[in-house]
C-alpha cells in the first residue's frame, strides 16, 4: 500500500469519529491490523447508530415481518405488497437532524432520499406523505422551521412530479429544538420487475449514475444522527447537502427506463454514508466482494481524498450492477437523460470491499465486518419514577363553556386546518388522487380500471407522541389501530405498515423503556391486524437541552379498496341523514389535546379496550363504506367527538343536531383514536349497521349538541372559519 494508505489514524481519531474504544479494538481484531484512514472512515459510518441500528436492532426483531401479500420486506431499499397484480412499494424515513440545522434543504433532501429508496426497487413514486413535529408555533424558531421545512418538502416533491397526498403535523414544546421530519413515499411497480439490491455475478460492472460527488454532508450520518444536538450545533455542521430535484427527476426517469429494458442486475440508492453504505450493502446482500476505484468517481471538487469520496453524501446518485455486455446500453439511456454514468468498479469473489485510487489500493475490508459485525447493544429499560415531560402552559381555562372550548380547540395549532401547508404541495400530479388532504382520513389513489371498477390504494401516516408518552405500549398499539381506522373510513383494508421510530437517547433507561414498549405496542397492533412491517427507520438521540422529545413512533400504512367510486369523505353527504357513532370507544382526556391546552402533562392511564372489539368496529365501517350505506366517515381522534362532528360539518357546510346522554368533558372532548367513528347515511341503513348508535341527524346551519341538561349550538360557518384560520397566521 502507498504511503497515504499506510498512515494509521489510530484509536483517538476513532473516538473523534464517534466510535467507542472497545469498538475500535474490535475493528483491529477483525482486520488483524489497525485500519487506515479510508477504512476507519468507512467503519465509523457503517458502525454508527444511523447505519447499524446498534441500540435498536435487537428489539426490532419483535416486529412481525411476514405477510400473505408481502412481495419485498425488511432488508431491501423499501418494502412492497401486492395489490391488483401490482407491487405497491412504500417506506418512511426520518431526516430530523439535518432539518433542525437547515430546514429547507434538510426536508428537501429527506424527500429526495425516500424517493430514491422507492426508485431503487424500480417503482415509480406515486405519492408522498409527511409527518412533521415542531415546538409550539408561538416560538419564532418553530415558525421558521415549519415554514422552511414545508417549503423544502414542496420544492422537492412538486418539482419532481410526485404528489404529496397526505400527512400530519403536531406541535409540542418537546420538539422545540429537535423537530421531526419524517417522509413516506409510495410507489408502483411491475412485480416481475422489482429490483433487489444484491450485487451478483462475478465480473459484473459497478456503475455510478447521477450527480457529481462533492463534500456534501461528510460525516453526516455518524455525527448528526448519532448524538444529541446542543446549543453549539453550529460547530457540528458538516457541509449541508443541497437537493436538486431536477437531477433526481432525470435519475428517476432514467432508472425506470433501465429497469423496463431489463438492463440491470441490481440497483441501490446512495443515502446516508454514501458510496460506503450502498456498496457494502449490495456486496453483503449478494455475498460477493466489490472493487471500487475512487479515481473514476466524477467529482465536483478536484482535490477530494479517497475517504471523502467514499463517505460523501452528495444527493441524486444511484449505484447499479450491470453485466459487461449491457454497460453500453445503460450508458446510452443515461446520456439521453443528460446524466453521468460512470463505471467505477467490479463485482469480485472473496467478499472483500477493496478501494482503489487508480492502481493503488487504499482500503481493503471484509464486507461482513462492515455490515454484520458491528456490536449490538442491549438496552437497559427502566420506567421513569415520575412523568418525563413538564406540563405545557395553560391556554384554556377549565371553566370555559363547551362552545368556547370547542372553538378554541378548532383554532389551536394541533387541530386547525392544514390547508396553508397542503396548498404548498402538488396533490394531484399523475392524476390518481381521488381524496385530497383534508377531504378524508386517508388519501386514496385510483389504479387502472378493472372492468367497470376502479380499484384503489389508500394510505395514511399517523403518530401521537403524547399518548405514547403516557403509555408507550398502549399508545403505540393505538397508533397502529388509528392508522387502520383512517383506512377504514375510506373503505380500505390494511396490507402493511412502515414505521419511523423517533426517540431520545436510548442509552438513558427511561428512553429505552419507551422504545421497548413502543415496539411491543406496534408488534401487537400488527398481530391484531395480521399485517407485517415492511420496512422503516429508527431515529434516536432526538434530544435538546431540555430533554428528550415525546416518544414518537410514526406509522405509515397502505391498504386497498375495491372501488374508488365508493370511498367516503369526512364531510356529511346530505341533509336529513342519520348521524351515528360506531365503536367500543371509551373517550378519555388522558394525553388529549384538551388536557394539553389546559396545561396538563401527558401522563395517566389510557383506556385498555380489547383490540378485537376495535377491529370489529373498523370492519363494520369498512363494509358500510364499500357497500355505499355509509356516506361519510371520520374517526374520533384529536379533540374528541365534538371536534370530529365540527369537522364533518365544516367539510360539507351541512350542520347537524346531536343528542348525547351527558355533556361532560370526556363525552365531548375525550379522545379514543382508532376505536370510535362518526358516520352518516340514510337512517334505515345506518341503523342496520352492527354496533352503530344513532345520535342525531344532519341538517341546518349549525352544530347543535344537547342532552337532557341543556346544550349548545355553533354556526357551521364559524366552526369552519375558525378551523381554517387557525394555522394561517403562522404561514402568511
Amino acid at each position: 500500500m502507498s504511503q497515504s494508505a499506510d498512515q494509521i489514524p489510530g484509536r483517538e481519531r476513532a473516538i473523534e469519529l464517534a466510535l467507542t474504544g472497545a469498538e475500535y479494538d474490535q475493528i483491529v481484531e477483525l482486520l488483524g491490523r489497525e485500519p487506515n484512514e479510508v477504512e476507519l472512515a468507512m467503519y465509523s459510518l457503517l458502525w454508527s447508530e444511523h447505519c447499524a441500528y446498534k441500540h435498536s436492532k435487537k428489539i426490532l426483531r419483535r416486529l412481525p415481518t411476514e405477510g400473505e401479500r408481502l412481495l419485498l420486506g425488511v432488508g431491501e431499499n423499501a418494502g412492497a405488497v401486492e395489490v391488483e397484480g401490482l407491487a405497491v412499494a412504500f417506506k418512511v424515513e426520518s431526516h430530523n437532524h439535518p432539518s433542525a440545522v437547515e430546514p429547507f434543504q434538510g426536508a428537501a433532501t429527506g424527500v429526495g432520499g425516500i424517493l430514491r429508496d422507492v426508485i431503487a426497487l424500480g417503482a415509480r413514486p406515486v405519492a408522498m406523505l409527511d409527518s412533521l413535529r415542531f415546538g409550539y408555533p408561538s416560538s419564532e424558531r418553530s415558525r421558521w422551521l415549519l415554514d422552511r421545512a414545508v417549503a423544502g418538502i414542496g420544492h422537492y416533491g412538486n418539482s419532481i412530479g410526485v404528489p404529496t397526498v397526505g400527512g400530519e403535523i403536531h406541535f409540542d414544546p418537546s420538539y422545540e429544538s429537535n423537530c421531526l421530519i419524517n417522509a413516506m413515499c409510495v410507489g408502483i411497480a411491475d412485480p416481475d420487475r422489482l429490483m433487489r439490491c444484491a450485487a451478483t455475478g462475478i465480473g459484473n460492472r459497478v456503475l455510478l449514475i447521477g450527480a457529481l460527488t462533492g463534500r456534501d454532508g461528510i460525516g453526516g450520518a455518524s455525527v448528526l444522527a448519532s448524538t444529541e444536538l446542543g446549543d453549539d450545533d453550529a460547530d457540528k455542521r458538516p457541509t449541508v447537502q443541497i437537493g436538486d430535484p431536477f437531477a433526481e427527476k432525470k435519475v428517476l426517469e432514467a432508472c425506470l427506463e433501465l429497469v423496463d429494458a431489463d438492463l440491470l442486475v441490481a440497483l441501490q440508492d446512495l443515502g446516508a454514508a454514501g458510496l460506503t453504505s450502498s456498496a457494502s450493502e449490495m456486496a453483503a446482500q449478494g455475498e460477493v466482494g466489490l472493487d471500487i476505484d475512487v479515481a473514476r468517481v466524477p467529482l465536483r471538487e478536484a482535490d477530494m481524498e479517497p475517504f471523502e469520496i467514499m463517505v460523501s453524501e452528495s444527493q441524486e446518485r444511484m449505484l447499479a450492477i450491470v453485466e459487461p455486455a449491457r454497460v453500453a446500453a445503460v450508458e446510452q439511456i443515461c446520456e439521453k437523460w443528460e446524466l453521468l454514468c460512470t463505471d467505477i468498479g467490479e463485482v469480485t469473489e472473496g467478499g472483500h470491499m477493496r478501494i482503489f485510487r487508480g492502481e493503488e489500493i487504499v482500503g481493503d475490508i471484509p464486507v461482513t465486518t462492515l455490515v454484520d459485525d458491528c456490536p449490538l447493544y442491549d438496552l437497559q429499560p427502566s420506567p421513569p419514577a415520575e412523568g418525563l415531560y413538564p406540563a405545557p402552559p395553560v391556554e384554556l381555562p377549565e371553566t370555559a363553556d363547551p362552545a368556547t372550548t370547542l372553538l378554541a380547540l378548532l383554532a389551536g395549532c394541533n387541530i386547525a386546518s392544514r390547508r396553508p401547508v397542503f396548498e404548498q404541495y402538488d396533490q394531484i400530479v399523475q392524476a390518481r388522487t381521488v381524496r385530497r388532504p383534508d377531504e378524508a382520513d386517508a388519501a386514496v389513489l385510483a389504479l387502472e380500471a378493472s372492468g367497470n371498477r376502479r380499484p384503489a390504494i389508500a394510505m395514511s401516516i399517523d403518530g401521537n407522541g403524547r399518548r405514547v408518552a403516557a403509555d408507550p405500549l398502549r399508545g403505540s398499539l393505538d397508533g397502529v389501530l388509528e392508522c387502520a381506522a383512517n383506512l377504514a373510513c375510506v373503505g380500505a383494508e390494511p396490507l402493511g405498515l412502515t414505521n419511523c421510530l423517533n426517540f431520545g437517547n436510548p442509552e438513558k433507561p427511561h428512553v429505552a423503556w419507551q422504545l421497548v414498549n413502543a415496539v411491543e405496542g406496534i408488534a401487537q397492533g400488527c398481530e391484531a391486524l395480521a399485517i407485517p412491517v415492511v420496512g422503516g427507520n429508527v431515529s434516536l438521540y432526538n434530544e435538546g437541552p431540555d430533554g428528550p422529545i415525546l416518544p414518537t413512533p410514526v406509522i405509515g400504512m397502505v391498504g386497498e379498496l375495491p372501488d374508488a367510486e365508493r370511498c367516503a369523505g369526512i364531510g356529511f353527504a346530505k341533509e336529513g341523514h342519520a348521524v351515528a357513532v360506531v365503536g367500543p370507544f371509551e373517550p378519555s382526556l388522558v394525553a388529549s389535546e384538551l388536557a394539553a391546552r389546559r396545561g396538563r402533562a401527558p401522563s395517566g392511564s389510557l383506556p385498555q379496550v380489547a383490540a378485537e372489539l376495535i377491529l370489529a368496529a373498523q370492519q363494520a365501517v369498512r363494509d358500510g363504506v364499500r357497500s355505499g350505506t355509509i356516506l361519510s366517515a371520520h374517526d374520533i381522534s384529536d379533540g374528541g367527538l365534538a371536534v370530529t362532528l365540527a369537522e364533518c360539518c365544516g367539510a360539507s357546510g351541512i350542520g347537524c343536531s346531536i343528542e348525547l346522554d351527558e355533556l361532560t368533558d370526556e363525552a365531548l372532548f375525550g379522545e379514543a383514536p382508532g376505536s370510535g367513528f362518526v358516520i352518516s347515511g340514510e337512517l334505515a341503513a345506518i341503523e342496520a349497521i352492527d354496533g352503530a348508535r344513532v345520535i342525531g341527524a344532519t341538517g341546518g346551519s349549525s352544530l347543535t349538541i344537547s342532552s337532557e341538561d341543556g346544550g349548545f349550538a355553533v354556526d357551521v360557518e364559524e366552526l369552519h372559519a375558525t378551523r381554517e384560520n387557525g394555522l394561517r397566521p403562522y404561514l402568511p
Binding site: A211, R237, V240, Q241, I242, D244, E301, Q315, E338
Partner: protein, 75 residues
C-alpha cells in the same frame, strides 16, 4: 449610501442552477464558458454600512450555503 450585496453559492456547495445553465450553453452555440454559478444581487440604501455584515449573516444570505460580498461606493 447605496450598497450592493452579491450572494453566491459557497465554494464546493452544489449549485444545481449554475450547472443546469452551463449544460444548456453548448446547444446554443456558446463555447469556452465554464464555472457558471447563479446567485442573487441585493441593492439597498444604508446610512451605516457597518451593520451590513450582520444583516447578511442573519437575513440576506444563508451562511451555511452561501457566501456574500458587500460592495460599497469607492471613497
Amino acid at each position: 449610501m447605496k450598497a450592493r450585496i452579491l450572494i453566491r453559492p459557497k465554494q464546493g456547495i452544489l449549485d444545481p442552477q449554475g450547472q443546469t445553465v452551463e449544460r444548456a450553453l453548448p446547444a446554443l452555440g456558446f463555447s469556452g464558458i465554464s464555472e457558471v454559478s447563479v446567485g442573487r444581487l441585493v441593492e439597498l440604501e444604508v446610512d451605516d454600512p457597518a451593520q451590513l455584515e450582520d444583516l447578511c449573516e442573519r437575513l440576506l444570505a444563508n451562511p451555511l450555503i452561501e457566501d456574500f460580498e458587500i460592495q460599497l461606493p469607492e471613497g
